[in-house]
Symmetry: C3
Subunit: 357 residues, 3 copies
Amino acid sequence: MKTKHLIDLESLSTEELMEIIELANMIMDKPCDYADSCRGKILATLFYEPSTRTQMSFKTAMLRLGGSLIGFDNPQNSSVSKGESLKDTITVVGGYADIIAIRHQLEGTARAASLYSAAPIINAGDGGHLHPTQTLTDVVTLYNEKGTLDNMCIGLCGDLKNGRTVHSLIKTMSHFKGNRFVLISTPELSVPQYIKDIMNSSGCRHVEVPSLAEALPMLDVLYMTRIQRERFKSPEEYEKQKGVFVLDSEKMKLARKDMKILHPLPRVDEIAEEVDYDDRAKYFIQTVYGMYARMALILKMLENADRKPMPRRIDTHAVRCCNPNCITSVESYLPKIFRPLGGDMLQCKYCEGRTLI
Amino acid sequence: MKTKHLIDLESLSTEELMEIIELANMIMDKPCDYADSCRGKILATLFYEPSTRTQMSFKTAMLRLGGSLIGFDNPQNSSVSKGESLKDTITVVGGYADIIAIRHQLEGTARAASLYSAAPIINAGDGGHLHPTQTLTDVVTLYNEKGTLDNMCIGLCGDLKNGRTVHSLIKTMSHFKGNRFVLISTPELSVPQYIKDIMNSSGCRHVEVPSLAEALPMLDVLYMTRIQRERFKSPEEYEKQKGVFVLDSEKMKLARKDMKILHPLPRVDEIAEEVDYDDRAKYFIQTVYGMYARMALILKMLENADRKPMPRRIDTHAVRCCNPNCITSVESYLPKIFRPLGGDMLQCKYCEGRTLI
Amino acid sequence: MKTKHLIDLESLSTEELMEIIELANMIMDKPCDYADSCRGKILATLFYEPSTRTQMSFKTAMLRLGGSLIGFDNPQNSSVSKGESLKDTITVVGGYADIIAIRHQLEGTARAASLYSAAPIINAGDGGHLHPTQTLTDVVTLYNEKGTLDNMCIGLCGDLKNGRTVHSLIKTMSHFKGNRFVLISTPELSVPQYIKDIMNSSGCRHVEVPSLAEALPMLDVLYMTRIQRERFKSPEEYEKQKGVFVLDSEKMKLARKDMKILHPLPRVDEIAEEVDYDDRAKYFIQTVYGMYARMALILKMLENADRKPMPRRIDTHAVRCCNPNCITSVESYLPKIFRPLGGDMLQCKYCEGRTLI
């Protein structure tokens, strides 16, 4: 890996991604060989927003490498409640830990943290923005359950408008050849245009389909996600539509024998409990692949970590990002940094939101 | 141990129980010999209901075996708050951890968890129902402090109606020969009939006594528990009665020189602080025995753990358990399973509550 | 170290303090040599009052010595909420852990805990009273950054009246030769008389100065602390005064090239963010020194720890301490113990508050 931090999976080349996947598989084959790989190393899990699932996966990964843990899972118990800046917290924890996994409700927090951390930063979810280790988990699952990452017909069902894991999976799978996407949602919750642009520019065919039943027969993979009740136009619309996007044993009869079901979890009721006993259900074993994926990632990142003692000062732009959920809206000392998009448009380097000069 | 999970101490044979006690004593003799027994293994402590004491005991036990820990101690910080089912949480954690200790406010939760867990489950307390590792602690303490588990006169004082540790200790000690019980409480808080039936059927003599002072001279062991203020008929009754069930130095003059005092802790004021300096007070060393008891239990359970990858589906009964504190009242997908008790009576396999068809 | 517990840094002789500093430096030089020094040992961190910074520092220290951890960081999750006494908690945890770090909002709590603990106790902060490992951190930082602990001109800025770390640093540095103090605060927040007495009796020169700008040119070291808004006489006074005690790049031009800035952290706005990039800013590296200081302390304390199985009873005085923030005001079973100060004055051995007979 050329980058020190893992903020966005897109910053990895396909080769780097394959290296992590292959390392995950090697660890899975012979976990004992890696049981002491991180002996003496410390992972800090800084969870400003609780997420038992993700935090446990990181912790288990580090422990199974022989490493140990510090961190918090509750902002109320942290110095944050005393008004400490993200910068100060990260600077101090970066002096204690060898590697940091950070989760925060604001977009761009992991990027902001990476400006000040002597230890490598892993983005464990920054608001609705990015969650790269979930996508890494998805990809390791696909690679193992399908034997390939190419030439698949991948169905994505649920809230495709707001689902960060959906967007990230499409982006990543677009880099592999011959993948097609079947997008299953209401018109209101369909994928944003910029995701369609990505599929188009990488030559991935895609089709929008209004119901699971219609899509199922074509799929090699079904990636299920929640549609939150409040995302529907009206309670009546919800009641009318909801069954269309719920997977149950009856609908599974329409699916291929070798189709695999994935889900980022936690699920609510979009997959009926009875489906758990179907051999094609892979959403639980997916969490085990996720643990191995994180073991591989931690190993790779520690391998090429060079600790820099103190950050250098970064020049700030005069313009402020206009996304109210961007970390810069709260942590005012952060340098304003943008990517020019042409014309008067700037893209915030933290949250990737667009701002007009 | 023949059973994979430890839900109820009653599921162990006396021989299996003695094996655990003897292993606890071997560890106590040479702790260094076991300092790496669980190296590379992970215990998950899932505490849906906080209990520092019990959780610390489990954690210390695992750490002193060289193992490591994941888990949570606060339901607010867990995915539970996102509406995830017990089944999903357990299935995922069972994929991360090698063994799970679970505590929950609802009865039958540990049994329910055992249906879905690839890793062995230890019941660390399920509501007012069972708390087998406390009883294991009590028995290891008795064995070490009295040198035997037979032929003892055991006093139990406090709320004998609602005290799960009292019921469990009576059940367990009834399997050993020659034990007698002195039951010290108000009439309203005396042991339930089914516990008396157990003592009778195993030929254990027992007597009910209205005050500590009267009971003390006969006892080899005094097992103290709290009587909660609100359990008394009225505040006046509480004020009148409370002193009768409080152990102090004055009352200790009535006790034998080799009597031992046990208490599951935390205590409030049922044992005066001055008694702590009496050599017969064993309630603090009892917690140390508890740590060794849990070390032995974890070792035994990991020894014969075979991991099953996915649970099989279980047929459900049409009848629902009528206990509102049963885990099935909340987790509706759980299969309804019962033991027929004769006539139209069914006993719920989760909470052991009785339901009429 | 002659004392089993570390309640107050003043209980260490200068030789003992130097031994810890030198051990910290040895560990810093060759951390690998100490990576297994505490293998098999357990540190309990009992944080009745949350403090992420201090708790993480202790945890990291223990992990980097190869030890492991139990504890809590939230009184709501502990048995304390069930009304358990400090004595009972400490007695039990002292049976589980090899060493305990305790933090509590009431003064004298660490001393009280030491009466009942089989394991050595480290005071990790008891209300506004003492915080010896912070001062140890400060001293290790000074020793490394200045190369000496003698003959320095030390500025202390902020709330010098209530700042326990300020008082403790003055006391400790007064034991070394030739140190002078420049006290920078408002008249209302100047150091208490008893601290001035200490400086006088050890022959340390000191001067009070009303502004940072005036003090800066003379200083070898500047120890910054917060002045809380509510400490000022009025909001108007705060607005008028606050800039006088804020360190920024402009003021740093007045300081010597080799002056070092320390701060116990967390800071709020008393040091402008721009100062972080000044080479003289040492408040972040100070936290790393703090980790090594705690590693050295833990090692020293475990070295000479002899576990006593049960505490002996201590006679209690008839008089009660009149400090409402003293631990004895809440934990009523604690023996009242005092140092006679002459006349009718007694000094409480827990909180060091004075009480008239």
